[in-house]
C-alpha cells in the first residue's frame, strides 16, 4: 500500500499532473502536442471545470515534467507516452475518461484507448495525423527531408539560445513583456529531448492502430492546417469505425488557442 502511494506520487510528479474541476464528474484528460506544454489548454480546459474532473499534464521532457525520468528507449515510440497516460489515469483511480489529445497526442490517446478501453472511454482528436511522411498513395504532407529541416530549425534556435550570443539574438532583454516568464517555463523543452520527441512524433507510423479503436471518437479538423491537412483528417475518420468528423471554421494547427470556443462547442456536442 505504501508502495502504491509512493508510485502514485512519482507518476503525478513525473508528468506535472494537475487535477481541477468537479471531483464527482467524469474524468477529462487533456494531452498537449509537440512543441509546447499543458499551457496550450489554457483556453479550452476551463470550460469543462463545472462538469468534469479535469486532468492536465506535461509529457516527460516538456513543461515542468521531471526531465530525469526521460528514458530515451521508452520514449522512442509513442507507446512510451501512452503508457504514461495510462499510469496517470490509474494513479487517479479514473475510469471511462474522455481523452482530449492535440496533434501528436491524438495518436497517443489512440494507443492508450487501444491498450485500456476501460480507462479511456472516449477520444477527442484535435488535428490528428497517424503518419506525417508520405508513403506510397498515402499523403501525410511531408517528406523525410522536411522532417530533417525541422530538426535543423530546432537545433538552430537552441544553438542561438544556449550560446554566448544569446543576448544579441534575444534582442530586448531590458524589456521583458508580461507573460514571457510564464511562457518560457510553460513551453520549455530540453534541446536534446525536443529533437528526439520531434523525430518520434514526425517519423512514427500509427496508421494500423486506428483500425483497432473501439471507443467513440471525435475528430476535430481545422481548415488550412499544414501539419494535419484535411485529407489526413478524413483518413483518420475513415479508419476509425463509427467515428465523428467535425470540420471547424477555424484555420491553422492550433484551434485550441485560436478558436477555443468552437473547439469547446464541438466537444460538448459530441459528449451530450
Amino acid at each position: 500500500m505504501t508502495n502504491d502511494i509512493a508510485q502514485t506520487v512519482d507518476v503525478l510528479r513525473r508528468n506535472n499532473v494537475r487535477v481541477a474541476g468537479n471531483p464527482a464528474g467524469r474524468v477529462m484528460m487533456f494531452a498537449h502536442g509537440f512543441g509546447c506544454s499543458q499551457a496550450t489548454w489554457r483556453k479550452v480546459a476551463p470550460a469543462f471545470l463545472d462538469d468534469y474532473r479535469v486532468v492536465l499534464f506535461d509529457h516527460v521532457g516538456a513543461g515542468d515534467s521531471d526531465l530525469a525520468a526521460y528514458d530515451p528507449g521508452k520514449y522512442d515510440s509513442l507507446d512510451g507516452y501512452a503508457s504514461d497516460a495510462i499510469e496517470i489515469l490509474e494513479a487517479l483511480g479514473a475510469s471511462d475518461a474522455v481523452f482530449v489529445g492535440h496533434s501528436v497526442s491524438a495518436m497517443i490517446g489512440v494507443l492508450a484507448a487501444n491498450e485500456r478501453a476501460d480507462l479511456v472511454g472516449a477520444l477527442v482528436l484535435v488535428g490528428p495525423s497517424p503518419r506525417y511522411v508520405d508513403d506510397g498513395d498515402y499523403r501525410g504532407g511531408f517528406t523525410r527531408a522536411d522532417i530533417d529541416g525541422l530538426l535543423d530549425s530546432l537545433d538552430a534556435n537552441y544553438l542561438g539560445w544556449s550560446s554566448t550570443m544569446a543576448p544579441a539574438i534575444m534582442g530586448n532583454p531590458d524589456r521583458p513583456e508580461l507573460g514571457d516568464e510564464l511562457t518560457t517555463s510553460f513551453c520549455s523543452l530540453d534541446p536534446v529531448i525536443a529533437g528526439h520527441f520531434a523525430r518520434v512524433t514526425f517519423l512514427s507510423d500509427n496508421r494500423r492502430d486506428l483500425q483497432k479503436v473501439t471507443v467513440p471518437a471525435l475528430i476535430l479538423q481545422s481548415l488550412d492546417d499544414v501539419i494535419a491537412p484535411e485529407s489526413v483528417g478524413a483518413f483518420v475518420a475513415e479508419s476509425i469505425g463509427g467515428s465523428t468528423l467535425a470540420t471547424l471554421a477555424a484555420t491553422g494547427h492550433i484551434p485550441i488557442l485560436s478558436a477555443a470556443d468552437e473547439v469547446v462547442h464541438e466537444i460538448r456536442t459530441f459528449l451530450s
Binding site: 511531408f142 537545433d155 488557442l257
Partner: protein
C-alpha cells in the same frame, strides 16, 4: 503607393490578420524575397517559410505567440520567389486589434556560421556518444561476475546506445536452444522459429528488419510475430566465440528505425566485447571447478569437502552425518589388473556411492580409495539405511575386474542438532575415520556409527 517610413527600415515588416493571412508587407521584404505586393497580400504567412521552419512555426512558435503575445528572434527560413532559402530571425507581437506584427531580420551570415557550428557539434556528439557507450559498456562487462550479470550489462548498454524500446540477450543452452539471459523479449508469446533470435542463430549472421512490411517479404510469420509484439524494427547479432555462436543479441524498436551500417557495426562491436568477457567467465568457472574437484572421479576434492564440513559444524540448521568409506580389496585390483582398471573401478565405485545418496548430499574423494559423504539432517535410523545402500552398491561386481572382490568399510560420525557449534571438523573426521578402522578390523564390509 507613396513611400512610408516603414518601407525604409532595414528589416522586413509584415502585418498578419487573425486568420494567418498577410495584410501588409513592406518594401524591404518585397526586395529580399522578389515577391510583389499582389503575391504577398492575402497569402498565408506560414506559406512563406520553408517546410522545416513551417513545422517549427506551427508546433512551437505559434503556440508561444498565442500564449505570451510575442516571440523574439526565432531562427526561421523564408523561401524567396526564385526558390532560394533566406535565413532570418523573426520577432513578432500580437497588437491590440488581434493582428500580428512581424519583423524579419536577414540573418544569412549569422545562420551560416551557426550551421557550421551545429554540424561540428552534431559530429562531435555522435562520435562522443559512441565512444562513451563503448567505454561504459567495457566497464560494465569486465566488472560482471556471472553470465547473468554480463547479459544484463550487455542488454542495458545496447538499449542505451540505440535508444531501443527493449533489448534481449540470449545464450545457447547445453541442449542447443536459446534461453533469455538478460533484457526482455517481446517475442516470448510467438512461435519460437519465427523470432529474430532464432533466425540469427540459424543463419549465424546478422538479421535486420527495418519494418513489418520488409519483414513480410522475408517471412509472413516473422511479420505477424512483430505485429503481435508491437515491434516495428529489429536487429539480431550473433554472439560468437572460438566455439561458434554462443548467443544472440537482439534490439527491438516500437517505431520504424533505419538500421544502417553504423548501427550494425556498433551492435556487433558490443556483442564481440561481451563475447570476450563471456569466454573469460566460462574459463574462470572451469578453473574453479578443476581446483575444487577430483580429476579422476569428478567428485568434490579435499578442499571442497573441508569447506562444506566447516560450514556444517559451525552453522548447520539440523544435525548431520559424516560417512568415511574405505574400499576393501582395492589394492588387489590394482595388482591383478593394473592401474587403468583400478581407475575404472574407482570411477564406478564413485558413481555407485553418488547413486546411493541424495542429490543434495556432498560426496568427495578424500584420497586413494577413501571417500567422504556429508549428509545433512539425517536421523539415526536413516544413517543405517544410507550405510546399507552404500555397502550393497560398492559390493556389487565390477565388469572390468570380474575376479575381484571389492567391498566398503564405513565409519559414521553422527552429529546431533544440539552439538552444532560445539564440535570441530577435525573431531568429526577423526570419529568417522576411527570408526572406519574399527569396522575394517572387525572383518571389513561393514559399518560402525558413533555419536560425536
Amino acid at each position: 503607393m507613396n513611400s512610408r517610413p516603414w518601407d525604409d527600415v532595414p528589416c522586413g515588416l509584415v502585418v498578419v490578420d487573425g486568420n494567418g493571412l498577410i495584410v501588409e508587407a513592406n518594401a524591404a521584404l518585397r526586395g529580399w524575397t522578389g515577391f510583389s505586393n499582389d503575391d504577398l497580400i492575402g497569402r498565408r504567412f506560414n506559406s512563406l517559410l520553408d517546410s522545416g521552419s513551417r513545422l517549427l512555426y506551427e508546433t512551437r512558435v505559434a503556440p508561444i505567440l498565442q500564449l505570451s503575445g510575442s516571440i523574439e528572434a526565432t531562427s526561421l527560413a523564408i523561401v524567396a520567389a526564385d526558390g532560394s532559402s533566406i535565413a532570418t530571425l523573426l520577432t513578432a507581437m500580437i497588437a491590440d486589434d488581434g493582428r500580428v506584427h512581424v519583423a524579419i531580420m536577414d540573418a544569412r551570415e549569422r545562420v551560416d556560421y551557426e550551421r557550421e557550428l551545429l554540424a561540428a557539434r552534431r559530429a562531435a556528439e555522435a562520435s562522443e556518444l559512441r565512444v562513451r557507450v563503448l567505454q561504459s559498456a567495457a566497464g560494465a562487462f569486465t566488472s560482471s561476475q556471472s553470465e547473468v550479470e554480463l547479459a544484463a550489462a550487455l542488454a542495458g548498454s545496447v538499449r542505451e546506445a540505440f535508444a531501443a524500446t527493449s533489448t534481449a540477450v540470449f545464450l545457447v543452452e547445453a541442449d542447443g536452444e536459446l534461453a533469455l539471459a538478460g533484457g526482455t523479449d517481446p517475442f516470448a508469446g510467438s512461435t519460437p522459429g519465427h523470432r529474430p533470435q532464432a533466425l540469427a542463430l540459424a543463419s549465424g549472421g546478422v538479421v535486420t528488419m527495418s519494418s513489418v512490411a520488409s519483414a513480410r517479404s522475408f517471412s509472413p510469420d516473422l511479420a505477424d510475430a512483430m505485429d503481435a509484439a508491437r515491434v516495428s524494427s529489429t536487429s539480431a547479432t550473433p554472439i560468437t566465440t572460438a566455439e561458434g555462436v554462443v548467443g544472440v543479441l537482439v534490439t527491438h524498436f516500437a517505431r520504424e528505425r533505419e538500421i544502417d551500417a553504423v548501427h550494425i557495426e556498433v551492435q556487433s562491436a558490443l556483442a564481440l566485447q561481451a563475447a570476450e568477457v563471456l569466454v573469460r567467465l566460462r574459463l574462470q568457472r572451469q578453473l574453479e571447478h578443476i581446483a575444487l574437484h577430483d580429476g579422476l572421479t569428478g567428485l568434490a576434492n579435499r578442499e571442497l569437502l573441508q569447506f562444506h564440513l566447516d560450514r556444517a559444524v559451525e552453522a548447520a540448521a539440523q544435525g548431520f552425518a559424516l560417512f568415511f568409506v574405505d574400499l576393501d580389496g582395492f589394492k588387489t585390483v590394482n595388482d591383478a589388473y593394473g592401474h587403468a582398471t583400478g581407475d575404472a573401478v574407482l570411477r564406478m565405485a564413485s558413481a555407485r556411492i553418488v547413486g546411493s545418496v541424495r542429490e543434495s548430499d556432498v560426496v568427495g574423494r578424500f584420497g586413494g580409495d577413501e571417500f567422504v559423504i556429508l549428509c545433512a539432517g539425517v536421523a539415526d535410523d536413516e544413517v543405517v539405511h544410507v550405510a546399507e545402500r552404500i555397502r550393497a552398491a560398492v559390493r556389487a561386481s565390477y565388469p572390468t575386474a570380474p575376479e575381484s572382490q571389492v567391498s566398503a568399510s564405513i565409519g559414521i560420525a553422527v552429529v546431533g542438532e544440539s552439538r552444532i557449534g560445539q564440535v570441530t571438523a577435525t573431531e568429526v573426521l577423526n570419529v568417522a575415520d576411527n570408526a572406519m578402522y574399527d569396522a575394517k578390523a572387525l572383518g571389513k564390509n561393514q559399518f560402525i556409527a558413533r555419536n560425536v
